[in-house]
């Protein structure tokens, strides 16, 4: 496998991902359901982008597409200069693990693992040594303010704390892009804003941050907002 460019590019004018005429549809019986229609998106390295739109407009689908989890029906997608269409399942797994950090609305922690172990999961799949991954996971737990909770199970943590673990896990392999799908959707406003603060801090440190949200406040914070409506981009720019 070709060496993926891992050094974050700080110049915001360099596109880290380019989507052209991307479409996604589902065949439901005889009806074809168009979820994404002719999406043209370019996102630069280090950018902070908000994706907004009504429920069912295709925001999550677009985010998953960006994160190489979902496969487009047609169109083109370059991620960091590589044509994603040409990659096989193993390559896509590797990209997800190494360069993308997912933060989900429902946290998606593995219940039988404790805080550090959850953070270690992506490192394990990248083949980090036991010692290295344990050390790094601990550091990340401290960073998100859970240094004293490292042996706790997800069920013993509050929603806000679980989402912090998820963020720490997303940072495990120092990804280029952080993708957050309604990260504050399941949280009260206070812990929601704490989570958002952590994410924005990461952006300030140079990460490319893409957040799906219903919160206009977040959109105001972001450098750019992409608004989806019925699978189409209705607005793409600064507010």
């Amino acid at each position: 496998m070709q060496q993926f460019n891992k050094t974050p590019e700080f110049k915001t004018d360099k596109p880290i991902l380019v989507m052209k005429q991307l479409c996604k549809s589902y065949q439901l019986g005889t009806v074809q359901l168009q979820v994404l229609r002719n999406i043209d998106v370019t996102i630069n390295s280090g950018e902070y982008v908000a994706i907004m739109g009504p429920s069912g407009s295709g925001k999550s689908t677009l985010l998953n597409m960006i994160g190489c989890l979902d496969h487009p029906t047609s169109g083109q997608y370059w991620l960091s200069g590589r044509n994603v269409f040409e990659l096989n399942d193993d390559d896509l797994s590797l990209i997800r693990g190494a360069h993308i950090g997912f933060v989900f609305q429902s946290f998606n922690l593995i219940q039988q693992l404790n805080v550090v172990e959850n953070i270690e999961v992506p490192m394990y799949y990248q083949g980090l040594s036991e010692h290295e991954s344990a050390q790094r996971a601990r550091k990340l737990a401290v960073m998100v303010g859970l240094g004293d909770r490292i042996t706790h199970r997800p069920s013993e943590l509050s929603g806000g704390e679980q989402q912090r673990v998820a963020i720490a896990r997303a940072l495990a392999n120092e990804p280029l892009i952080i993708l957050a799908d309604e990260p504050t959707g399941n949280l009260d406003s206070e812990s929601g804003s704490e989570i958002l603060k952590i994410l924005v801090d990461l952006h300030k440190q140079g990460k490319t941050l893409i957040v799906v949200t219903h919160d206009e406040g977040i959109a105001t914070d972001a450098q750019r907002t992409i608004r989806l409506f019925d699978g189409r981009i209705k607005q793409n720019g600064e507010r």
């Binding site: 994160g67 399942d89 797994s93 997912f102 999961v121 992506p122």
Partner: protein
């Protein structure tokens, strides 16, 4: 690196299995019982066959045994009642075997009589064997005290006897048996020697109906008493009278009850058997003899053992199969229960292979744990079978390896499909799964 991965995978597997302790235990029990039944069945089969083989080997693999049998009624010459019925092997037969077949090294003619023996007020039912001094050459008896019968005993028809251990222990509680006189029928015999033979085999027939008892071994008798062949002829004669109900007495004359022939090597056994049979056929008008070849019995026992093992083994294998299906069932349930976890792992960089390894290793941990517990349980069952059921059992290392190997194969076979299903789930679908 690899060991770290293995360690992590095993640790994770155990952790996941531990979350569902009861389920894991129940699932494993299928394998435990499967493996233990494989081991127990093979141990019982092996025990039975080794036992039988020992018995047969005791008959001597270079021996050919010719036994007197009562010919079928219609072949009997003359009328039925009050006529002396003469049949069986003769001294002439023994003579002919010795003189006309060069391969024959030893010929031992025997007369057998079931009799009671007394010492003071103690009594024992024994097989009295009238034999020759070279009897030990064709037998596995071993002298432990005194001497065996001699040619002088033969010549002078001496009243001497050699006892086997079992008879000694029945007759002589406190006294030293050697040089004591015991009473058989109406006469006294002096004990000149004591021999030993490994445990008496009375259940050989249960394994193979064709197999005869070892030389001079009667069914219900406690043990053997050896006296000179000349003496037995002199004291007991060759005629026996048996009163059978209203039909009157049955009078029989039999010279020898068996002749044991020993050849130089195993290769000569079967050719010599053929010559013996031709010879016997020529001089016996009625079929009043039976030729038994221990070597053939041995081979037959080996075949029987193989069939026995295959049958028992397949029964056990079926139970393992059922255990395997149980495991597959549970693993499929586990996979669908953990769909979301699989989605998460895929999103975090797990390859399909990683997912396969994860679930396959869980199955393997279950089956191998089941295999180990099954080996422990399976090794203890034969012990109880031997202890309470008085059946010989032999646990072979190869049966342990086989059982463990089968459980590993079951694990891989039945774990592969659930693992494959898990790996091929669409990450998006999995993540959406509640």
């Amino acid at each position: 690196m690899f060991t770290f991965r293995l360690k992590r995978t095993v640790k994770l597997g155990i952790k996941s299995l531990w979350m569902h302790r009861l389920r894991s235990t129940l699932t494993t029990s299928g394998i435990i019982f499967g493996v233990s039944s494989v081991i127990a069945m093979l141990a019982i089969g092996e025990g039975a066959s080794q036992h039988a083989q020992e018995q047969i080997a005791r008959l001597g693999s270079c021996n050919i045994i010719i036994k007197t049998v009562e010919p079928p009624e219609e072949e009997q010459a003359g009328g039925r009642e009050r006529v002396m019925h003469e049949y069986g092997l003769t001294y002439a037969d023994a003579e002919r075997f010795h003189n006309s077949i060069p391969n024959v090294e030893v010929v031992v003619p025997n007369r057998l009589l079931a009799q009671r023996a007394w010492y003071r007020n103690r009594k024992v039912a024994a097989e009295v064997i009238g034999t020759v001094p070279w009897f030990p050459d064709v037998s596995t008896v071993r002298l432990i005290q005194g001497r065996f019968l001699s040619s002088i005993d033969m010549h002078y028809k001496q009243s001497v006897c050699v006892l086997d251990e079992n008879v000694v222990s029945e007759l002589f509680a406190f006294d030293d048996a050697l040089y004591q006189d015991i009473k058989i029928a109406t006469d006294y015999y002096r004990v000149v020697g004591i021999v030993t033979q490994q445990a008496i085999v009375s259940d050989l027939q249960t394994f193979d109906n064709q197999a005869p008892a070892a030389p001079g071994q009667g069914g219900a008798n406690v043990g053997n008493i050896y006296i000179p062949l000349t003496t037995i002829k002199d004291r007991f004669g060759e005629i026996s009278i048996e009163f059978s109900g209203s039909s009157g007495a049955k009078i029989e004359k039999v010279e020898l009850h068996e002749i044991i022939v020993k050849v130089g090597s195993i290769e000569e056994v079967l050719p010599t058997r053929d010559i013996l049979e031709t010879l016997l056929d020529r001089f016996h008008k009625q079929s009043d003899y039976q030729v038994v070849v221990p070597l053939e019995l041995l081979r037959q026992a080996e075949r029987t053992k193989m069939i026995f093992s295959i049958v028992l083994g397949s029964i056990a294998a079926i139970s393992l199969l059922v255990g395997g299906i149980g495991i597959m069932n549970i693993m499929l349930a586990t996979v669908s229960e953990r769909t979301r976890e699989i989605g998460i792992r895929r999103a975090l960089g797990a390859k399909k292979r990683d997912i396969i390894v994860q679930f396959l290793s869980e199955t393997l941990i279950l089956t191998l744990a089941g295999g180990i517990l099954g080996i422990i349980l399976g090794s203890s069952i034969p012990y109880f079978v031997t202890y309470f059921g008085h059946m010989p059992t032999v646990i072979t290392t190869s049966s342990l390896i086989l059982a463990f190997g089968i459980s590993a194969i079951v694990g891989i076979t039945f774990g592969l499909y659930p693992a494959y299903r898990a790996a091929n789930m669409d990450p998006i679908e999995s993540l959406r799964h509640e």
